[in-house]
């Protein structure tokens, strides 16, 4: 599963994408690859009707698996990378083609473990698939990959959870590759709750066929340093992407997220809504690019990024960008960065709310529309994570103290 792309170099300070994040913090060169773990063979999980299937990876090993029997019969595939070598090889090769530096190619030449989901043409899975990737190892680079392929006119939803306990200093260099076939509908939700000592790198991509629809939702909550990139390619005519992100910078967290939406066909639409909040000494960077190729007439694209600065000393950069190479398109982008509105605080305090509670409520309100987009079984948890990230009292008993 390894390939190398020649002529790539490490991103330097002049690399626009990496300008605001220090590569050294990801310790890619000083930490060694985790390598295959000595794990027990996967345990068959009991079937939970709330999910079409579940895969659980612990320290690089598939620890538990389940797939609804009726889906097996229909030809669904949900298992380890080794279960679909040809498909995985193709996805990794394409990922490598997209890579423009050693920071992004590393994953594709080093993938160690991961999952595949193959949805056959015209099949529909009602309940979501769930992949949980848990890391407990320190001092290593782990490289999980998830490859997803939806056949023509199929429909499925996948939830991916990445997590690790506090105090584990390691690097995760992950990626998800997605092919949404013609007329297929796919929903991908990603929740990342790593400990603060973790360094998180991710370079995912999705390619959409004709009239394909992709709903994407992500919440990179944890990690100490985080650098993610998601490239969406609207390759098919009439395809559409809706991507939502909510992110937080707390204490010394550094999060740098980039999405690119490439319109390569006519009549495609994209909608991106990303909201973040920073406090303490944290910093976030959002880079969002809409690129409209000459052949992508009648493109409809919208990109919005909003950031809330909760205290002086915290910083959020917003860099939306449009690159339009054709006429006859409808593109808009906007970004706002600001503090909690004091007139709103006054209004709530005039009704008896303390200043602190008013600020929290207003900040939480900003994320309500993104919490609503979370998978329903995660909503309460996400709501709590958001409240804690925004500074709800740790002694409510629901917020974990970190460090």
């Amino acid at each position: 599963m390894t390939a190398v792309k020649p002529d790539l170099t490490w991103p330097g300070r002049t690399n626009e994408e990496w300008r605001r994040s220090s590569l050294e913090k990801f310790a890619l060169e000083s930490r060694s690859a985790a390598g295959p773990s000595q794990g027990k063979p996967a345990k068959k999980l009991d079937h939970d009707p709330a999910f079409s299937g579940r895969l659980s990876f612990v320290d690089g090993v598939l620890a538990g698996a389940d797939l609804a029997p009726e889906l097996v019969a229909q030809g669904f595939l949900f298992g380890s990378l080794t279960d679909a070598p040809a498909l995985v090889k193709d996805h990794l090769a394409r990922g490598l083609t997209l890579a423009d530096t050693l920071a992004s190619s590393g994953h594709y030449s080093r993938v160690e473990f991961g999952a595949v989901l193959v949805v056959p043409a015209r099949a529909t899975a009602e309940a979501p698939f769930l992949i949980e990737i848990t890391e407990n190892r320190s001092g290593v680079v782990t490289t999980p990959h998830i490859a997803v392929s939806l056949g023509e006119a199929s429909q499925a939803a996948l939830v991916v959870r990445h997590r690790s306990p506090e105090g584990k200093a390691f690097t995760v260099d992950s990626a998800t590759s997605v092919d949404v076939g013609a007329g297929a509908v796919f929903r991908l939700s990603e929740l990342q709750t790593h400990g603060r000592a973790a360094a998180v790198l991710d370079h995912s991509f999705a390619t959409l066929g004709r009239d394909a629809q992709f709903f994407h939702w992500c919440a990179p909550i944890g990690g100490g340093v985080v650098k993610t990139r998601f490239d969406f390619t609207l390759a098919g005519e009439g395809s559409s992407v809706r991507t939502h992100g909510l992110y937080f910078g707390v204490d010394d967290q550094h999060k740098d997220m980039r999405i690119s939406l490439t319109h390569a066909s006519p009549q495609a639409s994209s909608y991106a809504l990303y909201k973040g909040a920073v406090r303490d000494r944290a910093r976030t960077v959002f880079q969002g690019l809409i690129e409209v190729k000459p052949e992508a007439s009648k493109t409809d694209a919208y990109l919005s990024n909003k950031n809330l600065i909760l205290n002086d000393g915290a910083r959020a950069d917003s860099l939306p960008q449009l690159k339009i190479d054709t006429n006859d398109v409808k593109c808009s982008h906007g970004s706002t960065t600001g503090k909690v509105n004091e007139e709103e605080v006054y209004y709530l305090t005039a009704r008896g709310f303390s200043k602190e509670e008013a600020r929290l409520l207003i900040a939480q309100g900003l994320f309500a529309e993104l919490i609503d987009e979370a998978p329903s079984f995660l909503r309460d948890e996400v709501e709590t994570l958001v409240a804690c990230a925004l500074g709800a009292d740790a002694h409510l008993g629901v917020c974990q103290e970190s460090e």
């Binding site: 709103e344 006054y346 409520l361």
Partner: protein
């Protein structure tokens, strides 16, 4: 009986003096109307009473039943029983009316050592909403977001009925309301009228005062309450405008 007493209040905003010695006393059981031309300090007075941080009080006193109101922060004033119905209620995206109202009610009940009973609260909120002829769906909407002017004013009155304050200030609650909405809003205010409730109704027009008969009418002019009377003052203003006020009291 409780008293809200304002004595020789002077205040400024960004160094510009607005209030130049306001004296006013409101007792529970009384409804006061406050009128005056645009920009003469009516909203300023209301917001200083509530504790808006952008105004600086430079002199005078405000006593709520003997307690120094100026020493209290905004939430404490609310919890002490003061309510301001805003001239322009702000929108709070992402915070539902239901969540907001319930928490506000809970905070106020805690002051009295009571615990909120969710079932009772919901029942009461529904009753209050139908009393104010509001769609029950409002409970799930984000606070004031996308509300029409009239809907915002009804929402202020819904909060009034939920919190049942001792003293309420209505800053142009009647402005921008059609006849039906004006009747509903007046009905809401009249529901609280009684021995335990005092109000200051800031308005430019007689029409709300036809529904809510004031006991006293004051005119705020150039940062001072220049004259106090009864309904005859309202009639005089409707007929003659403010020219006579300017002639008589203008600096």
């Amino acid at each position: 009986m409780k008293t809200l007493r304002i004595e020789g209040l002077t205040a400024e905003i960004e160094g510009k003096p607005i209030l130049k010695g306001v004296d006013l006393e409101i007792k529970t059981g009384e409804i006061h109307a406050l009128m005056g031309p645009n920009g003469h300090g009516k909203s300023t007075l209301a917001n200083i009473l509530m504790g808006h941080p952008k105004y600086t009080v430079t002199g005078g006193k405000i006593l709520l039943d003997g307690q120094d109101l100026l020493e209290m922060d905004v939430p404490d004033r609310s919890k002490a029983g003061l309510f301001l119905a805003f001239q322009y209620p702000v929108e709070i995206p992402g915070v539902t009316v239901g969540k907001f109202l319930k928490r506000a009610a809970e905070i106020h009940m805690a002051v009295r050592g009571e615990k909120l009973n969710v079932t009772k609260f919901i029942k009461q909120a529904r009753e209050d909403m139908s009393f104010l002829e509001m769609d029950q769906q409002f409970i799930n909407r984000y606070l004031n977001e996308g509300f029409s002017g009239g809907e915002k004013k009804r929402m202020e009155i819904l909060q009034l009925l939920t919190l049942k304050p001792r003293f309420a200030l209505f800053d142009e609650t009647d402005s921008g309301l059609d006849i039906d909405a004006l009747k509903v809003v007046s009905k809401g205010i009249n529901r609280l009228r009684g021995d335990d409730f005092g109000a200051l109704i800031i308005t430019h027009y007689q029409r709300i005062l036809n529904y809510i008969q004031p006991d006293f009418v004051h005119i705020l002019y150039q940062g001072r309450v220049v004259t106090t009377g009864g309904s005859e003052l309202v009639t005089a203003l409707e007929e003659k405008g403010y020219d006579w006020v300017k002639e008589k009291y203008g600096a």
